[in-house]
Chain length 391, copies 2
C-alpha cells in the first residue's frame, strides 16, 4: 500500500493522499520475456502504484490500464507541492468510483513506455546506453504479460477487474482473452477490438513527424544536443484533435482569436486563433514528459492490436473468459466510434458471456472516458459491487 496513513493537509477525504511510485524487476534472465518475433527481453523494470488495501482473501484487486501517454501515477499526489494529482484521480479514492476503502487499485506503466517501465529510453542491460530503436518490438499482448507478472508478484492470483479506456481498453480486452482465469470483470471504455484504418492513418502522420525531424538521429537522440521535440509535438497536436469532438472544439474555442478581436493577417503568427494556441501549448507540454521513441513503439502496438486476428475471431477471443464485461462508448467519440464497442458486445453475446453495454451521450469525443467520471462512477459502483459479491 502506497497511501500514507496520515492524510495530507491538502487532501480531501476522498483523496488517496500522498503516494509514491514503486519499482520491481521482473523477467530477470534466464526468465526473460519472449516478445513479438520471438525476441527476448529482460530484466523488465516495472513502475507501479497501488492504492487501498489488499484484502486477506486477495480478491479485491483492480488493475487500471492506462492509455497511450498515461503512466502509473493515476491517483493522489507524489508530494505536498504537487499541483496536479494523478491522471484519473477523480475516479480513484475513498468513496469514489474505484473505492479505495473497498478495493485495492493497481496501475503500472506499460512495457515500451517512458515513465519508469522498461522501454526504448531504458539502458540496455549491463550498459548505460539506451536501447533506442534496438528495443524489440512489443505488442499489447506483451504489455499485458508484464502486468500479469506484476500482479502475480503482488501475490494476487485473480483480479477483481481490469479497467481502461482507449489503448487501456485494448489492454483490458487482451487481459480477458489472454488470462481468462485471472480476471473477474473487464471494463472497456471508448475502445475497440482493433484500431480503425483512420486511426492508423493519424498514427502514421504522428510517427512520420517524429522520424523526419532532423533531431531524431535514427532514434539515438538521447545523448545529442537536441531531440525530435518538434516532431513529437506535432504528433501530439494531430492526435489531440482526434481526442476531441468537432462540437467540443467548436464550443470551447470556436473561431475566437487569441490576442484581439481583429484579424492580424500575419502569416507566421501561429497563435492567431485560440484553437491554434491551445494545440501548440499541448504539443509543447507533451514533449516535456514523453519520449519520442516510446511514442513510435506504443502507437505501432496500437495499430497492430487486432483481437480477432490474434485469436481466430472475436467470439473465440472471448470463449474462455469468465469475466463480466462493462463496455462503454460515447456518442461523439470518432476515434473509437460506438460501432467498435457494439462489435465487442456482439461477440460477447455470441460467446455467451456476461456483458453490460452502455452508450453514453457526451459532447467530449474520445476524451469522454476521462471527463465523464460521474456517469462512469454511477455505472461502475454497482457493476463492481455485484461482481465482488458473486464469488
Amino acid at each position: 500500500m502506497s497511501t500514507e496513513d496520515t492524510p495530507h493537509k491538502d487532501a480531501d477525504e476522498r483523496s488517496v493522499g500522498l503516494v509514491s511510485t514503486q519499482y520491481v524487476d521482473l523477467f530477470v534472465p534466464p526468465h526473460s520475456l519472449k516478445v513479438a518475433e520471438g525476441n527476448l527481453l529482460g530484466p523488465v523494470h516495472v513502475a507501479y502504484e497501488t492504492y487501498g488495501t489488499l484484502s486477506e482473501k486477495r480478491d479485491n484487486a483492480i488493475f487500471v490500464c492506462h492509455a497511450l501517454t498515461g503512466d502509473a501515477h493515476v491517483a493522489g499526489r507524489h508530494s505536498a507541492k504537487d499541483e496536479k494529482t494523478g491522471w484519473w484521480d477523480e475516479l480513484i479514492g475513498p468513496g469514489k468510483g474505484l473505492d479505495t476503502n473497498k478495493y485495492f487499485v493497481i496501475c503500472a506503466n506499460v512495457l515500451g513506455g517512458c515513465q519508469g517501465t522498461t522501454g526504448p529510453m531504458s539502458p540496455k542491460p549491463g550498459t548505460e546506453t539506451p536501447y533506442a530503436l534496438e528495443f524489440p518490438f512489443v505488442t499489447i499482448g506483451d504489455m499485458v504479460e508484464v502486468h500479469a507478472a506484476l500482479v502475480r508478484h503482488l501475490g494476487i492470483e485473480r483480479l477483481l477487474g481490469a479497467i481502461g479506456g482507449s489503448l487501456g481498453g485494448m489492454q483490458a480486452l487482451e487481459w480477458a482473452a489472454r488470462f481468462p482465469d485471472m480476471l473477474r470483470t473487464a471494463v472497456i471504455l471508448a475502445s475497440g477490438p482493433r484500431l480503425s484504418a483512420q486511426g492508423i492513418a493519424f498514427n502514421a502522420v504522428g510517427r512520420r513527424a517524429i522520424v523526419t525531424d532532423p533531431h531524431f538521429y535514427k532514434g539515438n537522440y538521447y545523448n545529442q544536443d537536441d531531440d525530435p521535440h518538434f516532431g513529437l509535438a506535432l504528433a501530439r497536436m494531430v492526435a489531440h484533435i482526434t481526442y476531441l469532438s468537432e462540437a467540443s472544439i467548436e464550443k470551447k474555442f470556436g473561431r475566437r482569436l487569441q490576442h484581439s478581436d481583429q484579424f492580424a493577417y500575419e502569416l507566421m503568427r501561429e497563435t492567431e486563433f485560440q484553437i491554434e494556441s491551445y494545440l501548440h501549448h499541448q504539443g509543447k507540454r507533451f514533449v516535456e514528459r514523453f519520449d519520442a521513441n516510446s511514442y513510435l513503439y506504443l502507437t505501432r502496438a496500437m495499430d497492430y492490436f487486432d483481437l480477432a486476428k490474434s485469436y481466430g475471431s472475436l467470439p473465440e477471443a472471448f470463449s474462455a473468459t469468465q469475466s463480466r464485461f462493462l463496455v462503454t462508448s460515447y456518442t461523439t467519440d470518432w476515434l473509437f466510434p460506438i460501432a467498435q464497442s457494439r462489435e465487442i458486445v456482439s461477440a460477447l453475446i455470441q460467446a455467451r458471456r456476461h456483458v453490460t453495454a452502455v452508450e453514453l451521450e457526451s459532447p467530449y469525443g474520445h476524451d469522454s472516458f476521462l471527463l465523464e467520471v460521474d456517469q462512469l462512477e454511477e455505472m461502475l459502483k454497482p457493476f463492481l459491487a455485484e461482481a465482488y459479491a458473486t464469488k
Copy 2:
C-alpha cells in the same frame, strides 16, 4: 477559346480535347491590387484556361473556382502524351454537366497559388528573387477580386455562374457577396461560410509541419539545395485524411497490409498497412506539384474566411446578390459538415434569395464533390438551363 478545332485522337466526343493554359498580367502598376492590410500588389500574373465558346451576348460564361491545391487546368489534356486530364474533366465538356457546347467555361489559378498565378514563388517585380514570405497576405476576397478582373478582361460583364467545392465554394460565396451584379448563379459544394475550429486545427498542424522543417529556411528555400518537402508531404497527409470519410477509408483500405498477410513487427516500416502506403504516396506526389509557401498562404486565407464577419452577418452578405444558389452538401463530409451548408441556406432564405439545397448521400466524405459527378451533373444541368433561360 483554347480547345483545338481538330479533336485529339485519344479524346472522346465528350472531351474538350487539347487545351492550353493562357496568361495575362492584370493590376499593372499604378493600378495595383490593394490586398489585406492595405498592401499593394501588382502586376498580378494570372494563369487561366477556357473551354467552349463565349456567346455573342457574352452571357454564357461560367467560372470554376478551384479548391486548395487545384489549378487552372480543369478539363482536357495539355498534350497528346498527357496521361491525366484536368482535375474536373468528368464534369466539363460537350454534353457534360458544364456543357461546353452551350457554355463558356473559365478556370484560373488563385492569387497566392503556385500554378501560374502570382504567388509567393513568383519573382518580385523587377527582380528574379521570389517573394517568398515577403508576399503580402491575401484573402479569399483578394483571390476573387483578381478573378473578377480576369472575367472583365475577357470582355464579360456578368457571369452565368460561379461554381466551386470546398475553398472553391468559399470563393463562389465571396463572388456572390462581393460582386452581386456580376453573378447569375452560384453553385456551392461541400463548403461553408467559414472554416470550423476543427478545420483550423488541422490546417495549423499542416503549417507547423512546414515551418518546422529544417529546409524551410524562413520561406527562402527556392535557391537552396533542399526544400521543406518532408513538412509539405506531412501537411498533405494529414489534410488528405480529412478529405476522406472514415467509412471510405475503411472500405478502400481497412486494415489490409501492403506486403504480406503477416505482421512484420518492424517499427520503422512505414508502409505496413495499405492506408499508410497510400498516405505516404499522396504526400510524395503532392510535393512534386505544390509550393510550401503557397500552402501556408492558402490555408491561412481559408482559416480567415468568414463571410458573416466580413459583411456584418450572413443574410447581409447575401442582401444584394441577384444570384440563384445551388447549395450541395454530402452526408459523410466531416470537414464541411451538412450543418455548414444548412447555415448558408438558412441565411439565403432570411435574405429572401433563390436557393436550391441538396443533401446528398455519399460515402466519400469531403471528396464527394469531386467524385459524385453523375449526381452533380443531374442537378447542375436543369439548374443552369433554367437560370440561362431566365434573362
